[in-house]
Each structure stands twice: as structure tokens, then as C-alpha cells.
Symmetry: C2
Subunit: 341 residues, 2 copies
DNA sequence: AAATGGTACTACAACGTTATAGGAGTGGCA
DNA sequence: TGCCACTCCTATAACGTTGTAGTACCATTT
């Protein structure tokens, strides 16, 4: 692989001159500049990133940290990746990928790698606040942005969806369709769950409907958890609609309703949260609150880069908006199938 | 950040000695060794990867190349990533991520980055054989393994599922349930599609059933394409079962069948291909041929690493087995819901 | 006593860049 | 003629490692 020395020799100038040409110094006349560029092209010269970072003392590398096999698969991983990639295109930064397994040993190895590679920043997703990986990020001292993990330090901040508003959108939709007894399948987890519950209560109170704990059940974000929660609600209350804090739990609830012989959406309206792929494939297609993984990734990366480039004092939290996607699970007001995505 | 020099000073030895300790030379007595390690720990020393690769002339970096927003989302991306990560854990290699957008300009930028970073190998997924990214990989001269893209050169090879056998498994299952008129929704694409068709024909001929072109329709791997293909088949033939070359097309076919008032699975059995997440969420849950993204990623990375470490002469192609996942879409022979994944 | 061999280190030259400082040559001007 | 400024270029010292070739010292062996 060609080096600066080879290019210099070929162009008949010194190494310094070649370096100056590539780095845009303005003390080189056009004629020399062209000779150097031509030589570089002919030799297929590409500056050695290692040599460059050695002397410039920056790796130009950001790390993307995602959970491994054992962890929960983050439904927006791909979207977040695309958002991050979009945000760093055109900056000096490249991306490295860390798949963090849960055990202490391989976590230590990962952290060592981050430090050896002198990563300038991290973007992590899919870890709970108290997960060892989240803690390791804090301890590492590396600036970071977390997606869906609320953790702050002088060099760490987060991005997440506006869960309260998203949940309120969902419930307002059901209210607008005339529903008054709206059940809620709550998810067990961190702050995010609390916010979705807040949104549910907010929308109800806006409509002057008192909060009824009989209509609320908690589940564990799984499909079968949703199934069981729905069962418990139906055993003591008679809602006309259900809002589930995740699409997966909504699917479980749908299964439960069908098993009890109810027709969807005629006998029960249902709304989910997330808009995972499957939401548009189930029958009836699920009305749900869409989260924008790409925007979260983009926002995370932009904030991190702004911090690393010194354009902001410290990284700051962001909320990304959600969008209610209306499909058929609340009734046939939506577009006919052939038109639907 | 501490350097070898700092550690040397603290331990009261020379830089060379410290380097020898860390690199496992055996001419250092235990006592000195300990002094050096202690100093390193106290200073939180991490060897500088850039300096190391500069002198050793290897980056220790593999690149993972995935399609961006514009490209088709590869359903197994996450699984492949996990497989790759598993395979390279414990090797000297780290991973960088390239999200390749389609336009020529950003593709050139990506290739430049690969060369500047001196990536030792690439793993790419989700690009057709004639996609510019696939061509760029070939031209780059960087050793590579492609997932689901059949392309070979002295330093490039591929991994994919055993599509023929997978398709045959699906059709044999339908045959074993007594079906004789089995429709096939063919996908339009590269070699992979041809192989699935081969598997369909193979299973039929094993059973002594003649191939009937009336039962086959081609679609474009989308849901709506599957819907239309199903429609065309039903307009001229009366199958009792359908096999679709992808789950997405199977969903379209299911929608079509329902729109025509057929009951599933009573009036029509259906099998898909891929086992995407949604397959277990639709109703009836889809029986399908599971592909193992993690195994493909692992195989790709292992082959690439073996080549780079000189353990094999050149990278070789691999076929990864598939598994028929039996759910309810071919009848209720399967486990009851509460037991299902 | 001199040669041999082993142990425990160290010196030094790379690796491919960048940045700083400086030098040669030319032209203008007092 | 001497001085200065300007243009175009180059020398050199880092950056943090690794690997090779040594050296100093001591204990054996001949």
C-alpha cells in the first residue's frame, strides 16, 4: 500500500509538500498540487488512518454498543443504526460496533477495546439504566449518548421517544371514537413505562373520565404477558377498548380476545405502541404509536458529535416525537387494504 | 492517557521491558513482571491501538457492510451481527460498521474509509450480486464474505441458506399432510429464488407428482405482490395448499384468501419462508422455513478469519441448514397457543 | 584464567503521518 | 548594493508502539 513517501518520490517533491497538498495548505501552486494529486491517484494512495490518529491524537471513531444474543432484541436497532450513519456521514467520524454480552468477563474485554481504540464517543441502545453495560459506559468516562436509557453525567445524556405524549395520542384516538372504558396494559420496566401510564391518565383526565385502576393491569412486555393481563382485566371489568404499552403485548391481548370469542375490531378496539413490523401484518392490522428509531439515532449522533467538536458545553437529553398510525384494529375508518403499507 | 513510557517510569524499567512484559516474552522474572503490571493497573494503561497497528502493519479490523435506508431491510441483520460478533470474540479482530447508501458519491467515500482504515476483511449482507456495493467490494481487493450474495473471487466467497433443501422441507410437510395440489408463489430475484423453485419441484417429483405451471406465480417479494399472485393462481387453479418463497408474500396470500372468504387453515394450508418475527404473530401463526442469520454470520466471520490467519488457502462458500417451524397455518396439529414461542 | 552460556534487561530504528520552523530563490525598493 | 518580503518548498521532531540486536553481569565449564 502506497505511502506519502511513495507519492512524494513519484511527484518529485518532499513528503512535507505532499502532506501539505492533502491537508489544504495554501502555499502550494496549482501546478505542483496537480502533480501530487496525479501521483496519488496513480498509486491508489490512501492515507493511513492509524498513522494519522497516532500523531493527531484522536481516533475519529465512535462506538455503537448493542446488546447481544442474551439481551432483549431492540426492535429499532436497524433504524437507529441508519439514523446514526446518516448523522455522521460527512463528519470525521467512523463507527465501530460492540456487541455487549452480559457476562462480566466479555464486558471487561469490550471496555478494554473501547479504550485501546481510543473511541471518542459511544452510542448505546437497548440497556436498562441499571444494566452493567450502562454502568460500564458511565465508568469509562467516554462521552456517550444513550437511546432509551435515562442516564446523565457531565459527558453522558440520552434520547428517547416522547412516551407521555405518544400514549396520550393513542388514548385520545380511542376517546374520539367514542370509547369511555379504556383498559391499559402497563409494562413493567423503567421510567419509560411510567411515562406511558402518565399519558394514559393525562388523556383520560382531559376528557373528564376518572381513572379506574380496575382497567389497568401490568405485564412484562411479552406476548404471553399481554395475554394474561387481558384475561385478568376481562375477569373484572368490561372495557370497550384496550391500549397496550407495546405491540407485542397488544398481540397477546388480541389472541386472548379471540380465544374468548370476541370479534376484532367490532367487539373491542385495540391500540399498541412501537409500530414493529408485525403490527401491519396481523389481523386486524394494529393501530399503534410509531416510534422513530432513525430520528433517535440521528439525534443521538448529532448531539454527541456537537459535543465532541466543542459546539456544545455538554450533551443534552432529547425527546423524539411519535406518530399515531391508524390501521384497522379500532374499526374500519382506515383506508382499505389495497392502499395500506 | 498513560503510555508505555509512563508505565516504564513508574515501574523503574525501560520501555522495552514493559513492552516485553505485555507481549509475553519469557525473559522477564516474575518480580519485574508484577511491578510492571501493577504500574499499568495503577495508571489505567491501555495500549494504543493506532500505534500498535502502525508498527505491526495490521489494523485488526473487519468491516460489516449493510444497506442503508434506501436498500431493502435485511430481516436477519441483527441475527447476523450477533453471529459475527460471537465468531470474532477472542480473536484479534474488531468490527467497524459501514452503512452503504446507494449513491455513487457516498459509496466512494465508504470505500476510501475501508482503505484508510486498512480493513483486513469485509462481511457484507443484503446486496444483490449486481449491486454497486457488491462490485465495489470485489474491486477493492479486500478479502470478503458475503451473506446471501453469490459472488466469488480468489479472496471473496459467500454464505447462504440451503434454499433448495429448505423449500423441499416445506413442500414435503404439505405432502405429508395429504396435499397434492400445492401452489407456489415464486420470488423474483437472484439465484436464491431459482433454488427455492428447484426445492419445490424436487419434493413434488419425489412424491411422483407432476409439475403444474398453472400452480406457480411469480411475485416481487412484497406483501401486495403475494396478494396479487395468490389472486391469479386462484383464478385458474384450485390448490389446497400454498407455499410462498417468503413470509411477506405468504402474508399477502393470507390476506387474499381471507378477502375471498376462505378460512385458514381449514380451506387452505400455507407455508412461508424466512421465519421473520411477524410469522409467529399473524393469525393463524405461519408455518415457515426458518433461516439462521446467526449461523450465517458466524460461518462468514469464521471463514474470513481463518483465511486472514492463513489457516485456509482461500475463502469457501457455505450452506447453512434451515428448519421447518410448524405453527398453525397448515392445521391444528401443532402445539396449543399457550405453549408456543 | 579464559571462554561459554544464561539471565535480565536496554537501545534503537522503524511504522506513516502532522506541525513547526526554517531555507532557498526571486523580485521590488530605498 | 543591500535589505526585505514573498513564494515555494524541505528538514526534523514528534506520536506510541514493536522487534531486533545488543550489553552487562554473573555462574559455569574447560
Amino acid at each position: 500500500m502506497a505511502t506519502l513517501r511513495d507519492v512524494a518520490r513519484k511527484a518529485g517533491v518532499s513528503i512535507s509538500t505532499v502532506s501539505h497538498v492533502f491537508n489544504g495548505y495554501d502555499d502550494i501552486p496549482a501546478e505542483t498540487r496537480k502533480r501530487v494529486w496525479d501521483a496519488a491517484r496513480e498509486l491508489d494512495y490512501h492515507p493511513n488512518a492509524s498513522a494519522r490518529s497516532l500523531v493527531s491524537r484522536r481516533s475519529n471513531l465512535l462506538g455503537l454498543v448493542v446488546p447481544g444474543r442474551a439481551g432483549m432484541r431492540h426492535p429499532f436497532l436497524y433504524a437507529v443504526i441508519c439514523g446514526v450513519a446518516e448523522a455522521i456521514a460527512g463528519t470525521r467520524f467512523g463507527l465501530t460496533l460492540s456487541v455487549a454480552e452480559d457476562d462480566q468477563r466479555s464486558l471487561r474485554e469490550q471496555v478494554n477495546r473501547w479504550k485501546e481504540q481510543r473511541l471518542e464517543g459511544l452510542i448505546a441502545m437497548g440497556f436498562a439504566e441499571d444494566h452493567p453495560v450502562a454502568q460500564a459506559i458511565l465508568e469509562s468516562g467516554i462521552p456517550a449518548m444513550l437511546v432509551d436509557t435515562i442516564l446523565e453525567s457531565p459527558r453522558v445524556s440520552w434520547v428517547k421517544s416522547n412516551d407521555t405524549e405518544g400514549a396520550a395520542q393513542a388514548v385520545r384516538h380511542l376517546l374520539s371514537l367514542g370509547h369511555r372504558r379504556i383498559a391499559y396494559i402497563h409494562g413493567l420496566g423503567g421510567q419509560i413505562c411510567q411515562e406511558r401510564l402518565d399519558g394514559y391518565r393525562l388523556a383520560l383526565s382531559e376528557a373528564g373520565i376518572p381513572f379506574d385502576p380496575q382497567l389497568v393491569e401490568v405485564a412484562d412486555f411479552t406476548k404471553s404477558g399481554g395475554y394474561r393481563a387481558m384475561n385478568r382485566i376481562l375477569s373484572r371489568a368490561n372495557p370497550t377498548a384496550v391500549f397496550a404499552a407495546s405491540d407485542l403485548m397488544a398481540f397477546g391481548a388480541m389472541e386472548c380476545l379471540r380465544d374468548r370469542g370476541l370479534r376484532l375490531p367490532e367487539d373491542m378496539a385495540i391500540v399498541g405502541f412501537d409500530d414493529i413490523d408485525a403490527a401491519s401484518h396481523v389481523t386486524p392490522a394494529l393501530t399503534t404509536v410509531r416510534q422513530f428509531g432513525d430520528r433517535m439515532g440521528k439525534e443521538a449522533a448529532e448531539t454527541l458529535v456537537a459535543f465532541l467538536e466543542g459546539r456544545i458545553e455538554k450533551p443534552h437529553p432529547s425527546l423524539v416525537g411519535t406518530e399515531l398510525v391508524i390501521r384497522r384494529s379500532c374499526g374500519y375508518s382506515a383506508k382499505p387494504y389495497s392502499m395500506m403499507a
